[in-house]
């Protein structure tokens, strides 16, 4: 096809710098929203999904398959579970982590308002073996009985406080009692990143309970599989246990939160649609001013398709530029931001697929935004367009 030079599109953009800036910012805003939504869905999804090779099994109280915080498991059960032959062992250490999970109202020393419910996990040192995603990035693990705790990377966002308030040596208040922060850990893209960890016995005291919430074990695939854990739970009816793959546990949670994802996507689509309509309005005005130019180009022998393509090029350049800006802004400002939800918090994830979605949305915005006004422009007979 005989085309207008690409230059033609780019130079035309320079005609009205004010409008250009507005158009770029407008599309950047729409794309940023799309990126934020995608980052939300992806962040939530990745916090609830585990790597395929994860061979962890959670033993929960029977009937509490949906929520570890409601689950009760006896200390004796933990001892029995530890005897499961297929549990992984390294250097004599068995990968068995008895845990207590409680959501507690936590506030910083400086804060006067009531604390926010934050998931707290009481652990033994074996927890760091079983949960290999957890990396201590500062300080050390809490010592039992010393009123110490360790905070995950998203706890600041979860509590709504600046990171400096959670520095090593700072104090968090639980029920008015001070606990000092002795460690920082990260467990990116997992629910643990939004948790506070302390010694198992300490949390049992705080929560006034003498049992556990769950026992998490890592199986050694060479020694046995999940079925062994299931058989153990089925045989030991006295322990009232249910065995679940950790992957399945979070999979069920992810399904539970699927409606939220859908709602976010719908909201984002509606706003994007609004953005497109607003963009259309601008484009209609911008292109209407150019009917005579369209007429002239047709008189010079340019086929309509070439003219449409050139106008779409212009619009796509604008939208793609906006999308790039949105991508940079999204990566810098949104990536890792904590979003609170009922079970803690997760971080927005702005990664390559999310950015790709944003850029694609920008390009679609450009095409969809330009076509209707361009086609409308083209409908006018040439003779009339020349006079227009």
């Amino acid at each position: 096809m005989r085309l207008l030079p690409f230059d033609y599109a780019t130079r035309n953009l320079g005609r009205s710098p004010g409008r250009l800036v507005l158009a770029v910012l407008g599309s950047a805003l729409v794309v940023l929203l799309v990126i934020a939504s995608a980052a939300f869905v992806r962040g939530m999804g990745s916090s609830l999904s585990l790597p395929e090779e994860n061979s962890n099994v959670i033993f929960l109280g029977a009937g509490s398959e949906e929520s570890v915080e409601r689950s009760e498991v006896s200390t004796r059960a933990a001892e029995v579970v530890a005897t499961l032959p297929s549990v992984r062992t390294r250097l004599g250490e068995r990968y068995v982590s008895p845990e207590v999970h409680i959501a507690l109202a936590i506030r910083t020393e400086e804060s006067q308002v009531e604390g926010r419910l934050t998931p707290v996990r009481g652990v033994r040192p074996t927890a760091y073996l079983v949960h290999s995603q957890v990396h201590i990035v500062g300080g050390r693990t809490p010592t039992p009985g010393a009123d110490e705790l360790m905070v995950g990377g998203l706890v600041g966002g979860q509590l709504g406080v600046d990171a400096s308030r959670l520095a090593l040596g700072k104090t968090l208040l639980i029920d008015g009692r001070p606990w000092s922060i002795v460690g920082h850990f990260r467990a990116p893209h997992t629910v643990m990143d939004a948790e506070i960890w302390m010694a198992l016995t300490d949390l049992q005291v705080v929560g006034q309970r003498d049992d556990l919430s769950c026992v998490v074990v890592t199986l050694d695939p060479a020694l046995g599989d999940f079925t062994d854990a299931e058989v153990l739970a089925a045989q030991r009816l006295d322990l009232e246990l249910t065995a679940m793959r950790e992957v399945d546990y979070y999979g069920a949670l992810a399904r539970f939160y699927a409606p939220i994802r859908a709602m976010v996507l719908v909201t984002a689509s509606l706003i994007a649609l609004g953005g497109i309509l607003g963009g259309l309005n601008t484009m209609v005005a911008a292109f209407a001013a150019r009917v005579r130019e369209v007429g002239t180009l047709q008189v010079l022998g340019y086929p309509r398709r070439a003219i449409i393509l050139s106008f779409v090029q212009e619009s796509v350049i604008v939208a793609a530029t906006g999308a790039l800006i949105a991508g940079v802004v999204g990566k810098l400002l949104l990536d890792g931001i904590a979003v609170r939800f009922s079970m803690g918090a997760f971080g927005l994830v702005v990664d390559a697929p999310v950015l790709a979605i944003g850029i694609a949305a920008g390009i679609i915005l450009g095409i969809v935004g330009a076509l209707p006004p361009t086609l409308r422009c083209m409908k006018l007979p040439v003779g009339q367009a020349l006079r227009g």
């Binding site: 069920a252 979003v339 009922s342």
Partner: protein, 180 residues
């Protein structure tokens, strides 16, 4: 932006809190009903043994090593079968399954979620069919000879594990499935 996300999350949490999840019904698995495959010959009984007692009654007095014959229903937990192992959980027939109650739309009535946990534990047993190594056979019992959730079965076997906290494992040598 953040506000919007927060708002959506809040709304969705309200809208879906308290809902029961109904997607956890066990998938049909194992051999087709009526056909016993992989089980040792003679395990599936064609007629019910005459001297069977209710499981609850048997459990009260049984000791490790006792030979027992009892009647019970498959269930007492959400997943009474272990996929890939000849192990299942049964419960005394006198307890009420959730579908026996009016106005109940429970998707997994065999979990007896309406019974107190202590009562379930006291009236349940683990039934397994073991191989020469003493471990459950590597097959699912679901579907074998009509074994499904909530069917009534009569079990003949030996108690291999028992304690007063609720533990009772029976290695079955014969199972009869009540038809209808």
């Amino acid at each position: 932006m953040r506000g919007l996300i927060m708002f959506s999350v809040l709304m969705a949490t309200f809208a879906f809190a308290g809902c029961t999840t109904k997607d956890s019904a066990p998938k049909p698995g194992g051999a087709a009903g009526g056909v016993s495959s992989g089980l040792p010959d003679g395990i599936m009984l064609s007629s019910a043994p005459a001297d069977a007692k209710p499981l609850g009654e048997v459990k009260k007095s049984a000791k490790k090593g006792d030979k027992v014959t009892f009647v019970a229903r498959v269930g007492g937990t959400k997943h009474p079968f272990v996929d890939g192992r000849a192990t299942m959980i049964v419960i005394d027939s006198s307890l009420a399954a959730c579908d026996a109650l009016e106005d109940d739309d429970c998707a997994t009535p065999w979990d007896y979620c309406c019974e107190p946990r202590e009562s379930k534990t006291a009236n349940s047993a683990t039934v397994q069919i073991v191989g020469d190594d003493g471990k459950p056979l590597a097959l699912s019992l679901k579907g074998q000879g009509g074994i499904e959730e909530l069917v009534t079965i009569t079990v003949v076997g030996v108690v291999t594990e028992k304690n007063d906290e609720g533990l009772m494992v029976v290695n079955a040598s014969g199972v009869h499935v009540k038809k209808g």
